[in-house]
């Protein structure tokens, strides 16, 4: 199985930095931001974005959480999945600008589930989407606001995002 590395560790670091700058720019500052990672790899990416935001703008007050979407999946009944913790910052998401963070944007179904999960928890003023890789092949009218890398792929390829805490190293590879 041929494996091709498309992003290495420094590419990922740079992408996270740039996404963080773009988030601050689009929000005209660090006010009311809530960064929510979607398990599994979205959590680690969200933590990095949160850290980068704090580094870029000292006025940013960390508001980081996790949004599990297991119970909202539309393919949820095809497989037994364990439910993971959802952690919403204590200040909540009402009237906040929520940035959803995931590793790969593909069909868009995960994001659809995340939006439903989010709206059951509260009413954000705005919801934005940040992904490390957008590989195309959308099945729903969903688009990302912040993208690390656009990666045209064919449907039979697999995009694998590896992050140091979860997988031991930072890289994004395509498997045929």
């Amino acid at each position: 199985m041929p494996v091709r590395t498309v992003l290495d560790s420094s590419d990922i670091t740079r992408a996270v930095k740039r996404i963080s700058h773009e988030i601050l720019e689009s929000n005209s500052g660090p006010m009311d931001l809530v960064i929510l990672g979607i398990p599994t790899r979205g959590i680690e990416l969200a933590e990095r974005i949160d850290a980068a935001l704090a580094e870029i703008d000292p006025a940013y007050r960390s508001s980081l959480g996790v949004l599990d979407i297991t119970m909202y999946r539309d393919d949820g009944l095809n497989a037994e999945r364990d439910i993971k913790p959802t952690q919403i910052p204590t200040s909540g998401i009402n009237d906040k600008v929520v940035v959803l963070v995931d590793d790969v944007l593909y069909s868009g179904r995960t994001v659809r589930a995340a939006l439903d999960a989010l709206l059951d928890i509260g009413r954000p003023r705005q919801v934005k989407l940040a992904v490390l890789v957008d590989r195309g092949h959308r099945e729903l009218p969903i688009r990302p606001d912040f993208v690390g890398k656009n990666l045209p792929t064919s449907a039979d390829e697999r995009v694998n995002v590896m992050l140091s805490r979860t997988d031991g190293e930072d890289q994004v590879v395509i498997e045929q």
Binding site: G76, D82, I83, D120, G122
Partner: protein, 309 residues
């Protein structure tokens, strides 16, 4: 996993996974929108051949919180009172499109029969069959103990004392199996007539003196209701004598450690197997059990119905 008719169908990993999922699902019950769409479009039937308040309502709310449609079926208002057999009732429910049947039945083995005879294609959850098993009760007890004792993923090293009418208790049977599976040491205590020696085979210790059992300082004391409806003949001379020897009251309540948790599956007979003072004691976890029952049943319904595809 498709059915849950006995704790014997679980291994340690699947039991821990149900408890973990229940812990996560508990959060939904304190949200403003107390609903998850996981079982949307599914139908759950509560088929109750015995009276029940908490178990039936708990299963009903659990299914509704997961967005399933719920049909409640009770003995008195159904065709069972016209003599319909379990098979015919089950096949009727199957034809109407039930995706899961939660069954309580006075006959031991009824849930297993329903799950294995091929009458239905949906999932079966045992909500108590005769004096055989009541697996979701054991799961909610395990979850309550795990939370109170902060014992990590399982119950390793904890000692649990189960007291009362063991012989007729499906709660005791399911708990013996599950708590030992999760690493706890289980001791059963009760009068000889209500505690058959065969329970040793389930890996439990047996004691015929409440006081002696309490001297071992158990972490948890679980009191059981005396099930008069299942008794033919007399198992003890009088209620007064039973209460004098086996009620959690007075001196025996004082023997409990400061951190000892008091559990009771309900319904409680105050003044009989447990005194009002013990039932209302701060160490009593009865209401925590009811709360956990809801999230455990959500986790079980989700696990069974999500494993289908």
């Amino acid at each position: 996993m498709k059915h849950l008719t006995s704790i014997r169908e679980l291994d340690r990993a699947s039991a821990v996974s149900i408890l973990d999922n229940a812990d996560e699902l508990a959060g939904v019950n304190s949200r403003e929108v107390k609903k998850l769409p996981a079982l949307r479009g599914k139908t759950v039937v509560n088929l109750f051949y015995e009276n029940s308040t908490r178990t039936r309502i708990s299963f009903e709310i659990a299914a509704k919180r997961l967005s399933a449609d719920v049909i409640n079926f009770s003995l008195a208002t159904s065709s069972v009172s016209k003599g319909e057999s379990l098979k015919d009732t089950a096949q009727t429910l199957e034809a109407l499109g039930a995706d899961a049947i939660v069954i309580r039945h006075p006959m031991s083995g009824a849930a297993h029969t329903l799950a294995t005879k091929g009458w239905i294609s949906g999932s079966v959850v045992n909500a108590g069959d005769g004096s055989h098993e009541h697996p979701t009760q054991a799961l909610l007890d395990a979850l309550t103990i795990r939370q109170l004792k902060n014992s990590g993923s399982d119950l390793k090293g904890l000692s649990v004392l189960i007291v009362g009418d063991i012989q007729h208790s499906r709660v005791a049977r399911s708990n013996c199996l599950l708590l030992t599976l999760l690493g706890a040491k289980v001791t059963l205590a009760g009068p000889e007539t209500l505690l058959p020696q065969t329970f040793r085979e389930m890996g439990c210790e047996i004691s015929h003196s409440f006081e002696e059992a309490l001297e071992t300082k158990p972490d948890v004391v679980m009191m059981l209701r005396v099930q008069r409806e299942r008794m033919q003949g007399s198992f003890f001379p009088s209620e007064r004598e039973y209460a004098a020897k086996w009620s959690l009251a007075g001196e025996r309540l004082k023997m409990l450690g400061k951190e000892t948790a008091i559990l009771h599956p309900g319904p409680i007979n105050r003044g009989f197997e447990i005194s009002s003072a013990a039932a209302d004691d701060p160490r009593s976890a009865v209401l925590a059990q009811v709360k956990n029952g809801l999230s455990v049943r959500m986790a079980v319904l989700y696990k069974l119905m999500a494993g289908e595809g």
